[in-house]
């Protein structure tokens, strides 16, 4: 359910980056305030766990298809909402970079859609509320299942809104919602069942993990800290001496936004156009294919064709020819660079 760059406008992508950066900055502040550095490696390893576990395909009974773990709810249950959100964010950063899941501009949307709703809405309002009265297999199962389903429903609805606000798709709102929500209900049930199965298994095998996590404590024993306290002091001093790295202000990301989408006039500036007009007759490569086409213009039955001012055969064909030429030139450029590099390498040998 990753949002893609291609479905976004710069304004929506930039806004979601800003919102996500805000949530992340707040979460970082919260995590730093807890001052428990033991959580940092745990976050890292659990992030890697979610990544790896998502690669395991689980067969859905009675169907031929399969699903995988959705990370947000599980991370919130194990790490708490703030650390869970940050961990999921780093998983999504790596997925965007290495696996082309979503994209870098859509990263803000994806972190928000998959992380915010699960960690800050579904986890506190559903899971915590359900297990509030005390732990039992049934409550933990229901809590994780429902939290995962509702988190994903909200995320899917966000995808619809973000795509529509970007103005990329022609799908009407209602149709889009009717497409997305049921599909993600099915996916959410599977993700929720896997999440619930894992949490229940952990509850049965190592109940202290779930209890500690829920009360805000870091999973695992902290004896090592006392044992190593003396060494740590020396280590901190040594590290501090060699450290130049001090500032860690939670500024968040600041992205400049181009506010250019949608209303650009595509006409050429007069000067360039006139110069071109004066020389094009002389150097035209394909003069036979020219269309003096003002008569062929399509009349007004196409009111929604904003951004494509001159609908006529002449510009269309020259656009196609020019486009093909552009791609050809790009390919030639690539080939030339590669052949020059090869020659240089051969010379070096």
């Amino acid at each position: 359910m990753h949002m893609a760059d291609a479905l976004l406008s710069p304004a929506v992508g930039g806004t979601m980056w800003a919102v996500t950066a805000g949530v992340a900055a707040y979460s970082i502040k919260k995590v730093q305030n807890e001052l428990d550095e033991q959580k940092i490696p745990l976050m890292g390893v659990l992030g890697a766990f979610v990544f790896a576990a998502q690669m395991i395909n689980f067969t859905i009974p009675g169907t031929g298809s399969s699903g995988h773990l959705g990370g947000g709810t599980l991370l919130a249950i194990l790490l708490g909402p703030y650390a869970g959100f940050l961990t999921l964010a780093s998983v999504l950063v790596i997925q965007a970079l290495f696996f082309a899941d979503g994209g870098l501009l859509a990263l803000g949307c994806n972190i928000f859609n998959l992380g915010f709703y699960t960690c800050f809405i579904a986890y506190p309002l559903i899971y915590k509320l359900l297990v509030h009265k005390g732990y039992s297999t049934g409550r933990i199962f229901a809590g994780s299942l429902l939290a995962a389903i509702i988190g994903l429903q909200l995320g899917a609805f966000s995808v619809v809104l973000q795509t529509l606000f970007s103005g990329i798709t022609e799908l009407p709102f209602r149709t889009f919602v009717m497409l997305m929500q049921p599909i993600h209900l099915a996916i959410g049930v599977v993700e929720g069942l896997i999440t619930a199965a894992v949490v229940v298994f952990i509850w049965k095998a190592r109940p202290e993990i779930i209890e500690k996590a829920a009360s805000g404590q870091t999973i695992g024993s902290s004896d090592i800290k006392k044992v190593l306290a003396g060494f740590a002091v020396i280590a901190i001093i040594t590290g501090g001496v060699f450290s130049w790295f001090a500032s860690a202000n939670p500024d968040g990301l600041e992205w400049s936004m181009f506010n250019t989408s949608g209303k650009e006039e595509l006409e050429m500036p007069g000067g360039i156009h006139q110069t071109l007009a004066s020389i094009q007759e002389k150097i035209a490569i394909l003069p036979d294919y020219s269309f003096k086409s003002s008569e062929q213009e399509v009349d007004g039955d196409a009111p929604e064709t904003e951004g494509w001012p001159a609908v006529n055969a002449g510009t269309s064909v020259s656009g196609l020819a020019g486009g093909a030429m552009t791609l050809l030139l790009a390919a030639i450029t690539g080939l030339i660079i590669r052949s020059i590099k090869k020659r240089e390498k051969a010379r070096a040998v």
Binding site: A4, A6, S9, P10, G13, A25, I40, P41, L42, G44, V45, G47, F51, M55, N57, F58, T59, S66, H68, I94, L97, A100, G103, L104, T169, E170, P172, A197, V200, I202, A205, I209, I224, I234, G239, S243, A248, D251, S261, M268, I272, L276, A277, P287, S290, F291, A302, G307, V311, N312, A313, V317, S318, G319, L320, A321, G322, M325, T326, K341
Partner: protein
């Protein structure tokens, strides 16, 4: 990317490419991150009918990949799995947008087709740009760029740790899946009753691993901060790299270059 072992190969390929040496690899990571950002913003800022205007954007991946010695086919293969969602949503434009926008002497092409193609091209180019960034920069250098951009240290350490342990845990997940499939001959996939225990064991092992990692980090003087060595400074060449590309992207954005070439080729009088 649904197989742990395949994912591992994917990460290793990109890591190995990032270790190469070239002009592009030498550019400061911050400038490469900023250039990628500018490219993405310009690419998605084209409206859905500006199909031909955005074509010159292919020069960026072509030039960078050629200069950086990045093989095209393995990278293209990694772009493809990301396209189905974009294609799925784009396909609806074919149904809903039938206004003619591209009129050729022999055929009239409705807007849906143009916007569908432009979504596909945008998708391809944006995904390619992200892969090129990681294949020419590598994760540690991207973390350096993030640090210069003043992203808080906690997040960066955490990102690097996640990245480091992905390889370890993917191997473990791969072994679990292989062992399961060897012991369940004739079964298709993982049964429902095994979902919890299978993933749960991996999770418990991961938590225990995290404790060992933390202990060894403590032994090496970890106190909540991550110390890095000296970093390469930004020089004029790096700034020129970013400035050059940004200006090119703006020129592509504001001038319809393919149309100009087209007019030159055919002498169409407007």
């Amino acid at each position: 990317m649904s197989n742990p072992v395949e994912s591992l190969y994917n990460i290793r390929l990109l890591d190995e490419l990032a270790e190469k040496k070239s002009i592009i690899h030498n550019v400061h990571p911050l400038m490469k991150v900023l250039t990628t950002g500018a490219y993405l913003l310009v690419t998605v800022s084209f409206n859905k009918y500006q199909l031909s205007n955005m074509l010159p954007l292919v020069f960026y991946p072509v030039i960078v990949m050629s200069l950086a010695d990045i093989p095209a086919i393995p990278i293209f293969k990694r772009v493809l799995p990301a396209l189905p969602l974009i294609t799925g949503i784009g396909l609806f434009n074919l149904l809903y947008d039938k206004s003619p926008v591209l009129v050729l002497p022999w055929i009239t092409i409705p807007g849906g087709w143009v916007s569908f193609l432009s979504i596909l091209i945008k998708g391809f180019l944006t995904i390619l740009a992200a892969l090129i960034l990681i294949a020419t920069t590598g994760m540690t250098k991207i973390a350096l760029a993030l640090r210069i951009m003043r992203i808080p240290g906690v997040f960066i350490i955490q990102l690097l740790l996640t990245y480091r342990y992905i390889a370890v845990l993917l191997e473990e997940a791969g072994r679990i899946v292989r062992a399961y499939s060897l012991r369940s001959a004739g079964e298709k996939g993982i049964k429902f009753r095994d979902w919890g225990p299978l993933t749960g064991h991996l999770l418990i092992r991961s938590i225990e691993r995290a404790q060992r990692v933390y202990r060894s980090m403590c032994c090496r003087g970890f106190a909540g901060e991550y110390h890095t060595g000296r970093e390469k400074g930004i020089n004029t060449g790096d700034i020129l790299y970013f400035a050059g590309w940004s200006i090119s992207f703006l020129i592509i954005r504001y001038f319809n270059i393919p149309a100009m070439i087209g007019w030159l080729m055919m002498g169409v009088r407007r």
